[in-house]
Assembly symmetry: D3
Homo-oligomer: 336 residues x 6
């Protein structure tokens, strides 16, 4: 079935009860504090790309555990950090399996006068595109090849704890770079990068260092229990495969407990930044109801409800809005 | 089989005898002359994109039959046509089913200081990406939905006669735009756009208006007879499907005759521009041997053999080199 | 899921509100009138087939725009038009991608003493079977290869306006051929031909030239909006693909407006002929609910409700009743 | 959809009305009586396997029609039938398409001190694993290759009447073998073997020769009408395919009448043995609701409701619990 | 690869050494003699079809083992057996899984003035189309569902021994029906029916009762050993599946020995009738080289080489020439 | 194509030149020595399984880096280590993605009077079956999810260096357990376990601690370069995917260099134990030629060529001989 999930009007009011650990906030504030404790200043090295209208820096910052994480920083060549007003910035996290690729793949924000930090994804980068270069020095539990069940036995060990923390540290890093306005840093990303954006904005809100905007597209990593009941596609299907082997209520309880710390539908409640989401109604990778679970939760725990909007693509699968996202995001960023 | 075509050393010397019509050159010089006769100057309208480092024009030029064809022209904002030296330019033709999309999808050449004309594809644009806007006002013969057999009964009526001519006219158009250096216009494209680049460079060589460089990636539209024997994927498979219905030697002769006028392996012999090709050895859409058929023929009929090179991606399917193509192409362009 | 659509009892009373343009009837009466204005008498040429019990004519009639459309007319050899009573006739429209093929593929009606006109489908005929020969001289808008989105921007330009009109003109043509009883002409067809039958019977009812019977099997081209929400198969999926690229409410509104003029669920309301439908409950190409949308609407706007029946195949996919349709259709025809 | 059937709480109380023939019990008691009338004692031949801790017998017993059916009997080598207490036994029926294979594939019950009779499946054994050796000497009606529609015109002729009866006779056989305790014989099996277990336990209850326990896993052969509406996978899909060809209400009535005699949801009502079922909620071969139809019916016609339990695997497809089934089954067997 | 088998020039001279049993001819002459010994005259019952230009008889004849086999006999209504010269006839055998269907599906030969006997296929008829009605009263060995390995242990027991013999008996039957010219009976069929035609013509040549012509299209059942090495599609793949389970040289030797009696490449050597074959070069069900193995062997053992021709469809899969076959077959028949 | 690799006679003499590092032997002897240096004695804990004829121990030994690796040790209950002669033992490594599962899945060797150590696979165990419990505490380079490219940049870091070393340490461990005869330990496994067996036997031969026999079935991890050219299936396809992203000669050279240290075709030259291989000619996961590359190299560097044999399964895909392997392996073990 093409539009296989709930009808749009039900999606718009879909607010499921997702199991949430009592110590969600302390878990994450401790995680962020610990990561920041190990941190050095980012290393920023100018690279030669042949491009004349933008300049590109190879940025290495200390992510989770102090592990080095790579990023590209792309900025307008016309901008002189010493002379001009600092630039707003967008931190982008990437989709499952990909890496930061090559600098000229990331020109749209700089072409609009916005600094753009593209964060590499640890341990990924070999599935598509032009690759990544950031290893993940942490080992893995017995499980399914892939990242969804790596460290599934304990939220402290889970791969996505590291990924989210890397994202927080990417924002920290760009805020320290001369010529960037630390008050105008937004987060964005598609799919895994969208889920990462939800998480990073939420964690920074918890930490009192909110971003200026969050712009997640077709976000992954939300409402896991519904996702695995609804679709058997990857990467959510890695959970299914794991539970199909590690059978029984005890293993299941462990899995759901660990994932509850990582669930965008739990984290988003703590967000406070203005948020522009997008969702695709034929998305069989990130089911629409799981996206709405995060969107409808966004800012629910905030003192004042943040401004938010979700753009709906009724006829798209997981590719969602693609290039059509840039214009509304640019407008959103300028208004934030 | 992953590398299913000939081994690399055989590919490198693969020069098949492809049936070539005696009147190939007059057919095309007449076609080009006829198209130019109907032509008005391109209409160039500046568009608002929110981008600050590049400027974008919506270009409409008269293609085959004088039909209006759309294009984006993307240039560095820093470049003042009135004051600065004219820019080199790259004309890009697009892959099967796609359209020119949105301007911010086409920033890499402008970011390197090169004007970039992205030609819409007539009648296509609905299959992927952000779409196209150029209709094809010519009707179609009875056949397979798709473009490979549209007008198959006569080379004069075939869809790709119009597509190639549109490409020639795109080069003509960009050469007329103030601020562009008409002597430094290159053509490029991937797949259908690669086949188009082969053809356009060849037709312009026939017409004595050679381009500065051709940079086709994993080009389609070459050595049709081998392609259909080797793969059953689309779009070459449209020919197979057509011949599976329109059975018999007479229909087959008609098909091969028409396609011989459009075959990159025939046209490339007449090319004279320096050419940088790429090929992927696991490409099941455009088999490597059909790419080499065009590459090895490149410039064979020229007085002096042009400079040429082919970059090989042994482990890629039709995606080929993707982002890895930009650096060598930029270097090639600067050296041409 | 095998029977994935509504349960049968809900299907039987399924009467969705399909957006219907106010000017539906004038749109079509003008279209038919305009086509008839350009019309010459059909050209009928006897062909040699080796068959002894039937005679076959190659018929060329003026369809939409006066464009020549081919058809086979197959009749019993025993029938002498000069001496015998005129024959009843069946006009058949064909499934997506096919053409009129070869005469000996169309013997069942003639073997039952009924004249049989098999109308070729313009621009199609290359996908399966023995092919077609009728070009479509009208160009196409930018879109998806295929016929569902050709001319989608305006109902006047849409491919299926031409296809329906060709069908009306096929009935007009057969009524002019000596030996055929103009009062006993029925329309039939499977899938696209079924949708065509629904439309042609409806348009002729609007024009006051009703057919004697309509016998659509698993008809396509009805209740488009539900179809694309329910299935992603072709050809309805061409609409989905188009809207997945041409994103946004404006494009969507244009699409649904154009298709509302072509929607069998709107047209069928105006039908007045006795109708024998069939539907398959596991049909993933033409969902059962879309078939019932046309069937339940059949004759709703008529002064007196026409006789109608729908035969249900609970365990069939889009092949439906196949050869089992002939006996009930022959009985229906004889009773009409 | 991954968990595509009813939610678990609805499954737990799912008790559909399945058409049940009035003469179900006499049909089966006569069938069993007739088979027993032709029966000789099983032929038991010790085979050399290289195994030292178990002994293996090649058993041939008279199944339906007195036809010879093969089985392996695997027992602990330490057990001396002459000196020790007789052993409990498990009779296992096999999944669709398989055969008894090789003796060392069947060690788990013997390793736990339980005699294990693995019954070959007549006419099957060529689809997977190590094969079978038992022909089915009865011919077949016109139909679908496979066993689901073989003899579909009459319950007396249907393949599964023979299969069920073979299973009853396998229990009869093992009860006659020295060293086996006839009062402690259980039946088990996966999929087709699970459906067979349901049937054999039910038929033996009808015959007053109840088994000690039934342990069906993901049983097939239950609630056929719902199965074909819900899934199109094999083997239930053989029914669909048959009805897609043999169209019409008469053929359909014949099919459902024949299958009603074989339906686990009808037979299970007559069961009286303690039963341990398992079900997988993502099972697209044997839909969960059809498994629950048998489970919820289990013992419904019994004077006293038998002890029963069903273990649920929420994340498994048709593989279900696999190796995880052995521990609970061993415990169940020891408690029965 | 689309044309995956040998190149056409190698196919044309492909004459593999296929293991042939010494007693091939006596095996078959005894088989035919035995079948004829049990035979009664065919039962011919006129059926009402609603057709006026043809008459249809429901024919039941005694096939292998004297088992009743159904057929349709379709003849021109204009033909009066009592008054007119007897008709030539075509006996058609059918493709794998199908049955004789409905009479109006078989009109082309009668429409050309030729009597047409369509033989039902025992035990098949449930896979596609409108079905069959002939059971196969013989049981089956343990094996793969399907007909390719039914009775594989002994050539006397194999399903295709019965199928071929039914075909011989169908020719015998039609020759006994008043109004048919026994000297002008041809055999034809597609795929399994093509393989049957090869066999029946060969067996009747052995028996000294040759047919007037054989017209097999894309014949199955030839050069089994190469087929299973080359393709894994069904039905040849049933052999592969069987041997993948029944592993080892002994089982393999049994399989190849049994099939050598049934191999069209062995049988065709004994044919003497003029033969019109067809082959499709992209056929992945019946590989071209296996078709040529039968074609190139045709008549090799004959005193005088029979007239033969093979029509090649280079771009077709197993559908081959379809409707395009009728005209050349009609011409061949009239010339034979 | 079903048998898509070289013909059997070419396979039998297939000895490709595989790039081999000069320091292969020192690399591995150092690796083994280093692992042994960190080692403690294995921890052996008796577990309760409900089985009466075998006893099961949960073994934890120090693998690569001293990391704890789990295994099951299954032995006949009748064997009294204190009183009886020590048992021969088989160490089994497992297929890709699986884990040691549950003890009762591993009964065949113990049932034959042989101790059986089933080694868990670090970091795997979530893909199929009943799972594993051994984490891999080493992190991973940026790459493809899965194990084939984890640590691909350096042979010291590669996942399979750890896996092979774990296997060596498993043999070391079992040799230390009371009741096991250290001189009669064999290694075996299927696919990844087969590749592991090749490696472990080779490394132990290098170390002067040879095993009594190696019995690899359809071994993986051999002749990588040919494998990726020939098939695109997983897990070899992980290399292809990695190289399709990490494009260019430098990355490729790194990959092939790292893998050359792990290549079974290089390691097997150093083996000295008697070896019983098996291969399947339709295996599209581990192509036959890559299996023969290891088999034909087996013992090539040995002073005296070891006894070896390869059993061929012509009609099997990667499942190979399955249960048919046990009898020849048991015979081989008893003869070794």
């Amino acid at each position: 079935m093409a539009q296989y999930d709930l009808p749009l009007d039900e999606l718009e009011r879909y607010s499921p009860a997702v199991d949430c650990p009592d110590d969600l906030v302390p878990f994450w504030t401790a995680t962020v504090a610990e990561a920041r404790a190990t941190a050095d200043a980012p290393v920023v090295v100018r690279v030669e790309t042949g491009l004349t209208e933008v300049v590109v820096d190879d940025v290495t910052f200390a992510g989770f555990g102090g592990h080095p994480v790579k990023a590209w920083l792309v900025r307008p060549a016309r901008h002189d950090p010493a002379a001009h007003a600092p630039l707003p910035a967008v931190v982008e996290m990437l989709g499952y399996g990909g890496g930061r690729g090559l600098p000229h793949e990331h020109l749209r924000w700089a072409a609009a006068g916005v600094a753009h930090l593209v964060m590499d994804t640890r341990g990924q980068g070999g599935h598509w595109g032009a690759g990544g270069e950031t290893p993940d020095p942490v080992g893995r539990s017995a499980g399914v090849a892939g990242f969804m069940t790596a460290g599934i036995d304990d939220p402290h060990d889970h791969y996505y704890r590291r990924f989210y923390t890397d994202g927080v540290r990417a924002v920290d890093a760009v805020r320290q770079i001369p010529g960037i306005d630390p008050a105008r840093v937004a987060v964005t990303g598609v799919s895994q990068g969208g889920g990462g954006s939800v998480a990073v904005a939420s964690l920074l809100a918890m930490a009192g260092d909110d971003v200026a905007a969050a712009m997640p597209d077709v976000p992954f990593l939300s409402h896991f229990r519904r996702a695995v009941r609804l679709v058997d596609s990857r990467p959510y299907g890695e959970i299914t495969q794991y539970l199909s082997v590690r059978r029984g209520p005890a293993a299941e309880a462990t899995v759901w407990r660990t994932l509850s710390y990582l669930d965008g539908a739990n984290l988003a409640r703590h967000a406070t930044a203005p948020a522009l989401f997008s969702v695709a109604l034929m998305d069989v990778t990130c089911p629409p109801s799981t996206v709405y679970a995060a969107y409808n939760a966004w800012g629910a725990a905030a003192a004042a409800p943040p401004r938010k909007r979700i753009d709906v693509y009724p006829y798209n699968d997981h590719e969602g809005g693609q290039a059509y996202r840039f214009a509304p995001q640019l407008a959103w960023l300028r208004a934030s």
